[in-house]
């Protein structure tokens, strides 16, 4: 039990009295969740609320010939049966492109398929009824006739001339392509002492949020207003999109997001069935609820990571890495997802590969193709797990080839800790990273030398254990460079409003959202510290477009670094306003006063002068006693967006220790370590838990999770029993360590920490398996997930 062990790794420079920065403060509002008193969208019921069930295409690609709904319309409880063509009159289609991803193209996507269904699971008709059960009953009475079309399934042949083009208007099945060449790549390979070439495959997988996607849409015809209760990461983005595609003004739309049962990037996208539910509410003039069931989730929640990467590394005998080369191919389903697009993941693979290293020679090609499978888009750590698996897989294979220790080859190639600011070969700009200090910390924390000795001893007994590593960089705190410059109305700035209530407590409204990461805790810690009250006097409001400042929400590890900074500044601003009132009441100069623990004090010596509840009483109820002409301002709003750097890169290194059963191919994870540098740590416990949760999602990708499709584009394991996710018994304890390199772009200096675990875990599990199997002469495994069958095949046993 390590409850008290999460002490701050360093003293914060943010040295306000009674600072909460760097303290493991428990999250506010957790009692609501432990007692089952949360309010998830699945729990929401409204007067006159109807339920919708969607009929979904059983074919990967088919023309819809006829929808016969007469019997369904007469079924008990049925309110309406609506087709795609009917709903297209209510809501306009969308196209998922961004102008800064040059050449990226996609086709118009409708809330419900109009002419053709393009993947198995696409909604082709909606049945609205009094209960979900009645809607599902009536679905069975709808007869839909299809003409099956050729299904484009394999990305490898998607661009072949003889392959069917999914969207004729686009001319081909190419969504996006990017090429990059830096340095003298061919020369570098020619001058290498060794070259390792292999193909990495990342299995298509998905987020499996424990609460499926859910939305309750309520169009009020009398108010001409739409209220949408939605489990989303980006309420303001959704407000804009609902308004745009229903031809409403944004002020006619309110998006409310209360508790959300897991997101991980799954709930930051536009889903056709959620858009359809909103359109149905407008059409039927009453609230309509849609909650995806688990079977629907597997064929409609975005998938991710389905990449095949041919990759090459050159290395000198002294360990110097001379060149990286990758050729990435990914199939993203029939549409680029709106509005973030499905080109970002491949783009990130190109950007991030080789990122931790000094190697100046890099060639990359990425092709993103359309296919008739479920859509792919951004899932936690977008692109990172792929780029890290490729980079770190190559680095350890190269080390093995020249007979060098895997940590030593990294020491010789990682960007030096005193080299910053600098840029990677791919052009990423780094303000300050700490690869070497992180590596040294990990080396000591895991007792690397001791583990190697144990490994050697056990090998002699026929027990095969492996140690694998993964250094990584992580994109956090994105500026407008991520989406805004490409034309998407996705805010990179965020705001916080802080007001003093009439008893001296604070209410904070923030544009960032909470899906369990602890954004509310971080915002409360920032405001409590910069204003000067105890944290139990701070209440945080999130997820309400009517009542929070405009903001981007929570994704790409931006809530603490961006939302936290806005909250910090707003707290400071309000402290200034309150001290002006205190100065007027006490006839003192405001700059000689401070607020500490809820009391106005003399800044110099801490002498207590005035409790906040008394100040609030006078300001609100006896302003007549304040000096003539003085007006108390007891609310303050501040916004923040990173400006100095496009992204606040973080870095870290992970290690995995595992044992492979060479008879069964099963992998037993023994221990996992992660050292991470996310700048200023606002709440050490929350950072560690982000890392642990992220690591386990990465382990899922490495060992278990894959959306399996057959050659007709049918998903074969779309249920919780057949699609494996990590369970408690299979997971190791995970030890976390920290190095702190704050960003100078904000006063707090905080960067993000949400992607790190997921970014590095698949690579280091892969490397550990290969380390375990190397003495047995096994072929290196590079095709995730590493199932027992694949491991036995590598061992030549099957």
């Amino acid at each position: 039990m390590k409850i008290t062990d999460d002490s701050p790794p360093v003293l914060s420079a943010l040295d306000r009295p009674n600072s909460y920065i760097g303290r493991s403060v428990p999250r506010p509002n957790l009692q609501r969740l432990t007692q089952g008193r949360g309010q998830y969208v699945s729990d929401v019921t409204l007067p006159r609320m109807a339920h919708v069930a969607y009929l979904r295409s059983p074919h990967a690609h088919a023309r819809i010939i006829k929808i016969a709904a007469t019997a369904a319309k007469k079924a008990p409880g049925v309110i309406a049966v609506v087709t795609g063509a009917e709903l297209a009159k209510v809501m306009t289609p969308w196209v998922g492109v961004l102008t800064h991803l040059k050449g990226l193209k996609s086709a118009p996507q409708y809330p419900i398929a109009v002419e053709c269904a393009c993947w198995q699971g696409e909604a082709v008709a909606a049945v609205v009824a009094r209960t979900r059960a009645e809607a599902e009953d009536a679905c069975e009475l709808v007869e839909i006739s299809y003409e099956e079309l050729p299904a484009v399934v394999d990305p490898e042949t998607a661009l072949d001339a003889k392959t069917h083009v999914i969207h004729a208007s686009l001319g081909d099945n190419l969504c996006f392509e990017r090429k990059l060449e830096v340095g003298a790549v061919d020369k570098a390979f020619a001058e290498s002492d060794a070259v390792v070439e292999t193909t990495f495959v990342c299995g298509r997988h998905t987020g499996v949020t424990t609460e499926p996607r859910a939305v309750v849409a309520d169009w009020n015809e009398g108010e001409q207003r739409l209220t949408v209760y939605q489990g989303t990461q980006a309420p303001h983005m959704m407000q804009n999109l609902f308004a745009k595609h229903l031809s409403l003004a944004e002020h006619q739309v309110r998006v409310l997001t209360k508790d959300v049962g897991g997101s991980f990037g799954i709930k930051v996208h536009t889903y056709a069935d959620e858009m359809a539910t909103v359109a149905l509410s407008k059409l039927l003039k009453r609230p309509v609820k849609f909650v995806a069931d688990r079977i629907e989730s597997f064929v409609t929640d975005i998938h991710a990571r389905d990449h095949r990467i041919k990759a090459r590394i050159g290395v000198k005998n002294d360990g110097t890495i001379t060149a990286f080369e990758i050729d990435d191919l990914t199939g993203i389903g029939p549409y680029s997802v709106y509005p973030r697009t499905s080109g970002i993941e491949a783009n990130q693979v190109v950007n991030l590969t080789g990122g931790p290293y000094t190697c100046p020679n890099y060639r990359a090609q990425a092709r993103v193709v359309f296919q008739n499978k479920n859509l792919m888009c951004q899932y936690r750590a977008v692109g990172h797990p792929i780029a890290v698996a490729v980079t770190e897989g190559l680095v350890e294979l190269a080390a093995a080839k020249i007979g060098m220790d895997p940590l030593e080859i990294r020491r010789r190639n990682l960007i030096a800790d005193d080299a910053y600011p600098c840029a990677s070969a791919a052009g990423l700009k780094f303000e300050k990273l700490s690869h070497h200090e992180s590596l040294a910390h990990l080396d000591a924390m895991m007792n690397y030398a001791g583990l190697r000795a144990e490994q050697k001893k056990l090998r002699a007994q026929g027990i095969y254990r492996g140690i694998g590593f993964a250094s990584f960089i992580e994109v956090t705190n994105p500026s407008a460079a991520f989406y805004g410059v490409g034309g998407a109305r996705i805010s990179s700035q965020d705001g916080a409003t802080v007001k003093l209530d009439a008893q001296g407590a604070l209410i904070v409204a923030t544009g960032v959202t909470e899906q369990g990461q602890g954004a509310e805790a971080v915002v409360a810690q920032c405001v409590a510290t910069s204003f000067g009250v105890s944290i139990d006097k701070v209440r945080v409001i999130t997820g309400d477009t009517d009542n929070t400042p405009y903001g981007g929400g929570t994704w790409a590890s931006r809530a603490a670094g961006i939302g936290g900074e806005a909250a910090w500044q707003a707290g400071k601003d309000l402290r200034g306003n309150v001290l002006a009132v205190a100065g007027a009441m006490l006839q003192a100069k405001p700059e000689h006063l401070d607020i500490r623990n809820g009391i106005v004090v003399d800044k110099a010596n801490g002498t207590e002068r005035l409790p906040l509840d008394e100040l609030a009483r006078v300001a609100y109820f006896r302003p007549d006693t304040l000096p003539p002409g003085f007006q108390a301002e007891l609310i303050a709003t501040r916004h923040y967006v990173p400006r100095a750097w496009p992204f606040a890169f973080t870095n870290g290194i992970q290690a995995s220790y595992l044992e492979v059963d060479t008879d069964t191919g099963f992998v037993k994870l023994l221990k996992h370590w992660c050292v991470e540098d996310c700048g200023t740590i606002i709440n050490p416990q929350l950072v560690d838990e982000q890392i642990r949760g992220g690591v386990v999602q990465g382990i899922g990708a490495a060992l278990f999770e894959q959306c399996l499709y057959d050659e007709r584009g049918q998903m074969l394991n779309g249920n919780m029993a057949d699609y494996l996710v990590p369970m408690a018994a299979e997971m190791p304890d995970i030890e976390c360590g920290h190095v702190v390199s704050p960003t100078a772009d904000s006063e707090l200096g905080a960067k993000g920490a949400g992607e790190a675990g997921t970014a590095g875990a698949p690579a280091c599990v892969m490397n550990a398996i290969n380390d375990a199997l190397r003495p047995l002469g096994a072929q290196p495994v590079t095709d995730m997930p590493f199932t027992p069958g694949k491991i036995l095949k590598a061992l030549g046993k099957v």
Partner: protein, 162 residues
């Protein structure tokens, strides 16, 4: 189709309940829709994820694998009930302190499953805790913090009853 409904009487969180329910209705749908007990969550509806774990006649069950009509005459306890009685107050407190939940969606089921293990007494090993909780999926925490929390309460309860 929904042409069969039955009258059932049962005790839910100490309260007598008599309702007419469709024969096909699952226990968790009955609890959530008919009784408004939304603390029991639905994650998969096929008995895998454990989000709907509740107690029926003292045993933990999957609320999605049991029909409401099967509970005629039974005693059912949900997270709302075991919270209000104070039975799991220590477990809830340590979950909050240790951040053994993030989104909280799996938490009511996780607490019910953990309490089931803890009720057997003793201080289970971390491996035994992990094994027992393997029927309850959590996608946020990576389980480490949950194991810490359950282990801490096992020790605390064992110490307190010596």
């Amino acid at each position: 189709m929904s042409d069969l409904a039955l009258d059932i009487s049962l005790t839910v969180n100490g309260e007598r309940v008599s309702e007419r329910v469709e024969a096909r209705k699952t226990l968790v749908d009955f609890l959530r829709e008919d009784l408004g007990l939304t603390g029991s969550h639905i994650g998969c509806e096929h008995g895998v994820c454990g989000a709907c774990t509740v107690r029926v006649n003292g045993e933990i069950v999957r609320g999605c694998l049991m029909l409401a009509v099967q509970c005629d005459g039974a005693t059912v306890e949900t997270i709302e009930g075991i919270s209000d009685s104070g039975e799991v107050a220590d477990l809830q407190a340590v979950f909050e302190q240790r951040n053994a939940l993030q989104c909280g969606y799996c938490t009511p089921g996780m607490i019910a499953a953990a309490q089931d293990l803890l009720n057997r007494g003793g201080v289970p090993s971390r491996e035994a805790i992990r094994e027992h909780l393997s029927g309850n999926y959590c996608r946020c925490t990576g389980y480490h913090a949950i194991v810490d929390a359950v282990e801490a309460i096992a020790r605390a309860r064992a110490g307190g009853t010596k």
